[in-house]
């Protein structure tokens, strides 16, 4: 009898403990939600980020609008061509897209930049995508021979006022 009572007591204790646990969790979650809803200011490290990175993404591919090769991606300025999404995904997390688009290099040159970023800037292993990214960059952002001094281009002509 005593044993049974003790058992019952134990069960009750455990149930109470669990209830408190659940309630605390609910409280924390609701506080968290309240915080996010009312107080969360944009920060460079949004809370949602972790989930986004971890989420499997391959399933919803059909939604992608098909941009035409040779046009420019409005968001990044990247030239649309094979591999451009890979470049966008991997090359604009830490730095501006313009740091890519203003540069010109051979495949070896781009590879050198990737290696430098991996060595010093914490760029991750690009895995099997590296070849496609390098192909994309080498094709679309290849060096042009500028000679020793290019012509002045994009001059906007205007009447100079106040001259005698």
């Amino acid at each position: 009898m005593m044993e049974k009572k003790n058992d019952l007591l134990e069960v009750l204790k455990k149930a109470t403990g669990a209830l408190i646990g659940i309630l605390s969790l609910a409280l924390i979650l609701s506080l968290g939600a309240t915080y996010l809803f009312f107080f969360h200011k944009p920060s460079p490290k949004p809370v949602i980020a972790k989930q986004e990175t971890a989420a499997p993404v391959a399933k919803v591919e059909a939604v992608a609008p098909k941009a035409e090769n040779g046009t420019i991606d409005e968001e990044t300025g990247f030239i649309i061509d094979a591999g451009w999404e890979l470049a966008k995904t991997n090359c604009t997390n830490c730095h501006a897209a313009t740091l890519v688009t203003q540069n010109r290099a051979t495949r070896e040159g781009w590879e050198g930049m990737i290696r430098w970023m991996q060595r010093t800037q914490k760029l991750w292993d690009l895995g099997e995508n590296e070849a496609a990214i390098l192909d994309y960059l080498a094709k679309n952002y290849a060096p042009e021979n500028k000679g020793r001094r290019p012509n002045l281009t994009d001059v906007e002509w205007y009447e100079l006022e106040g001259t005698k």
Binding site: E85, D125, Y158, L160
Partner: protein, 407 residues
């Protein structure tokens, strides 16, 4: 800086990329530490406080250059000073709690000063100092050099107020074996890893002890703009801007050449011995850039001026020469066939740029380019073509030119 609007835009882009099903490759450590959030745009808004006419090369990190016609002021105003950031600006700055620590193996002791202590303990000086990015002019190198493609406007000459670094170093005491100083600042690495130093460069002790080497808290009589180093920075005129550490928190007095971030490899170094364009240069053959070479810009008129035949073309600008002064400036309307000597003012103080002006008679209708060429106190002039190729495209001091048509 991080406005609600840009945040929304960025997180939208982040999720959009996910919806599109871009295959994301993440290495071992990537997902948690480097959240997939920051899509940095091709056409960012101008950094608050900067003139809308400036050119944004990138917003992460902020790199912004000033077109030459916006550098016409004799003293560059805050909104027209270029920005060259290697990392992210500090998110919070408490001026009252900010401190500068002097340490290092060649400091006799370690000392820290609040900004108020710096102001109270040492005499303040104001100098107009030319700061030019080491990579100013990189865009013209051939084959192209990697990095921000600066044209001509990564240069400024503002009035800086602060205390002499040498007064602070004398107060701390430096050992006889001191050869270099290296700075540390409070900027944040692009990867957001707090362990990683963004940039920590320095100068030989002789440069550190010059009268004009300042630990500055004010620019043009006001707080330094955030992007330019508020609340405290080093200012050393005539050397690559990267020696003038921003958001300054520590200066180490070193008994070796400072070995901080961006002191080695291709960073701010050029081949000790000239190389052919495109050549691979081993690390041991690279030398640290010190004084910048002689250079000038035409700040008036803006390129593209149309004038009538018979009118005189007024031309003006600034010239500077690293640690030296500018002896002469010449301008040419005919690609260097003839040169006309410009009027040249002396510098406001050592290491300040000098102003030149000239009146040009253009003989006939047609297309002209006006070229400016400065000569330093040692008799060295600017080249008309892009000089010594180097892997990272530093020190392009080729003559600046503008296009003019006479009708």
């Amino acid at each position: 800086m991080n406005t609600r609007r840009s945040f929304l835009k960025k997180s939208f882009l982040g999720s959009q990329a996910l919806v599109w099903g871009v295959p994301v490759v993440y290495g071992n450590e990537v997902p948690e530490k480097y959240p997939f959030v920051g899509k940095w745009l091709a056409d960012p808004e101008m950094l608050p406080g900067k003139n809308a006419g400036l050119k944004v090369l990138g917003e992460r990190p902020w790199n912004i250059e000033t077109p030459p016609h916006l550098l016409d002021d004799k003293v560059t105003p805050a909104d027209k000073i270029f920005v060259r950031n290697n990392g992210l600006m500090p998110e919070t700055i408490d001026v009252a709690k900010w401190s500068l620590t002097i340490n290092g193996e060649s400091a006799k002791t370690t000392k820290s000063y609040s900004i108020t202590e710096l102001k109270n303990k040492f005499k303040a000086y104001t100098y107009q100092l030319t700061i030019e990015c080491g990579g100013n002019g990189r865009a013209e190198f051939n084959p192209p050099a990697k990095g921000n493609q600066w044209e001509v406007g990564a240069v400024s000459c503002a009035k800086w107020t602060g205390v002499r670094l040498k007064d602070i170093l004398m107060d701390v005491g430096i050992k006889d074996d001191a050869v270099y100083i290296g700075y540390y600042g409070k900027d944040v690495h692009l990867s957001k890893d707090p362990e990683k130093v963004v940039i920590s460069r320095g100068v030989p002790i002789a440069k550190a002890l010059e009268d004009e080497t300042l630990v500055a808290w004010a620019m043009n009589g006001e707080d330094i703009p955030l992007a330019n180093g508020h609340p405290l920075r080093l200012v050393m005129g005539g050397w690559p801007g990267s020696v003038s550490g921003k958001w300054l928190s520590t200066i180490a007095v070193r008994n070796v050449v400072h070995d901080g971030e961006k002191m080695g490899g291709d960073s701010y170094r050029v081949p000790c011995e000239a190389v052919a364009p495109g050549e691979v240069v081993p690390d041991e053959n690279m030398c640290i850039i010190e004084g910048m070479p002689v250079k000038s810009i035409i700040s008036y008129p803006k390129t593209g001026a149309l004038i009538k035949v018979g009118q005189t073309l007024p031309v003006r600008g600034h010239a500077w020469a690293g640690d030296k002064s500018v002896k002469e400036v010449h301008v040419s309307p005919d690609f260097g066939a003839t040169w006309q000597k410009a009027d040249l003012e002396g510098p406001a103080n050592r290491l300040a740029w000098q102003h030149f002006s000239a009146e040009l008679k253009l003989p006939a209708t047609g297309y002209y380019e006006i070229w400016a060429k400065a000569t330093d106190s040692d008799g060295k002039s600017q080249p008309m073509v892009v000089p010594g190729w180097n892997p990272k495209g530093y020190l392009n001091n080729a003559c600046h030119r503008i296009a003019v048509k006479v009708r």
